[in-house]
């Protein structure tokens, strides 16, 4: 990415009639292919023995870590959340970390990629909410605590999607941009330092994106859980009274 282009959308690799192939599409597919290939190669020979390959160990650590995080955030079983939140984290993390490869610009530095990811979250939150609480139960949380909160709740839903997209885009774009600017001003050592910092930011941003998606999903599915807990507690108290 040179200093003039604000996103990898403007870096056209192949122009074929009206169809142009820009860097975002190419690198997105490269990342997806890499993820699928590595997962396929590793899971081809899984072993439940004490002896297993390093790659299996890596994947197990990743999946276990994500499960722990999801469980800590949502206080629920991870079953249906892991595929979504885990995919978001893995995709964004690999996108951002691959920026150490020369000639690669992270697809997450383009607003179209991050907007697509944010829209995935925007669609997934009601889906999980309805799956967990039923349609009426999900819709009822919009008019909580009063009906007057309805427009604000809807606005909040939209604005947090926008914030999710712009946050990731801004962070990744600034990393690539600062690298390009420093390359023009002080090309010897400073770009490397900023790049190392960019790797850290990239991983943190991937983590934050996945965690925020999970927080939104958890908030859409949580009220049910809380009600059940309250009922259980009341029943316990009744039991204690009757015993005492």
């Amino acid at each position: 990415m040179d200093i003039k282009a604000i996103s990898p959308d403007q870096v056209v690799i192949l122009q074929w009639g009206p169809i142009s192939l820009n860097a975002t599409i190419v690198f997105t597919w490269a990342v997806m292919g890499l993820l699928v290939l590595v997962s396929w190669l590793v899971t081809r020979r899984l072993s439940s023995d004490v002896q297993f390959s390093r790659w299996q160990n890596l994947l197990e650590i990743l999946v276990k870590g994500m499960q722990d995080q999801i469980r800590a955030i949502s206080h629920q079983e991870t079953g249906i959340y892991l595929p979504f939140a885990g995919t978001l984290f893995l995709f964004i993390a690999v996108c951002n970390l691959l920026s150490i490869v020369p000639g690669y610009t992270p697809p997450t530095a383009s607003l179209s990629t991050t907007a697509a990811l944010a829209i995935c979250v925007f669609v997934a939150v009601p889906l999980y909410g309805i799956l967990n609480r039923g349609l009426s139960g999900y819709l009822r949380q919009y008019i909580r605590p009063t009906v007057f909160m309805l427009p604000f709740n809807i606005m909040g839903e939209l604005s947090r999607t926008l914030a999710l997209a712009v946050r990731l885009f801004g962070n990744m774009m600034s990393g690539a941009k600062i690298g390009a600017i420093l390359l023009a001003i002080a090309p010897l050592l400073f770009p490397i330092i900023m790049h190392a910092l960019g790797l850290l930011t990239g991983l943190i941003q991937a983590y934050i994106f996945a965690v925020l998606a999970m927080v939104y999903i958890a908030s859409a599915t949580r009220a049910q859980q809380e009600r059940e807990q309250k009922q259980e507690k009341e029943q316990e108290e009744k039991g204690e009274k009757s015993h005492g």
Binding site: R167, G170, S174, Y207
Partner: protein, 89 residues
């Protein structure tokens, strides 16, 4: 002054001001939240994981305002629609 000079000047000055002023609030907020989180961790080291995760989410929320300013500044400098309009005319 013709319009090219005016638009260029306004864009550059506004971009600088946007980042300068826009980063004051978030940096103060982030400083406060990190200080609070550190003292909480010092008081309750067992809750480090919880506090750190919440801190990161909160920092991301606070930081997004600064990121908005940065994006606006970048658009003003590198993808200014008014500038492009004047140049193509």
């Amino acid at each position: 002054m013709d319009s090219i000079t005016l638009i260029g000047m306004a864009s550059v000055v506004t971009a600088g001001l946007t980042v300068a002023i826009g980063s004051i609030g978030p940096s103060l907020g982030e400083g406060r939240s990190v200080a609070q989180a550190l003292s909480s961790i010092a008081q309750q080291p067992d809750e480090t994981n919880n506090i750190t995760r919440t801190l990161f989410v909160g920092l991301a929320m606070i930081e997004s305002t600064a990121i908005y300013c940065f994006v606006v500044a970048m658009i003003l400098i590198f993808a200014n629609p008014f500038w492009d309009h004047v140049i193509t005319k």
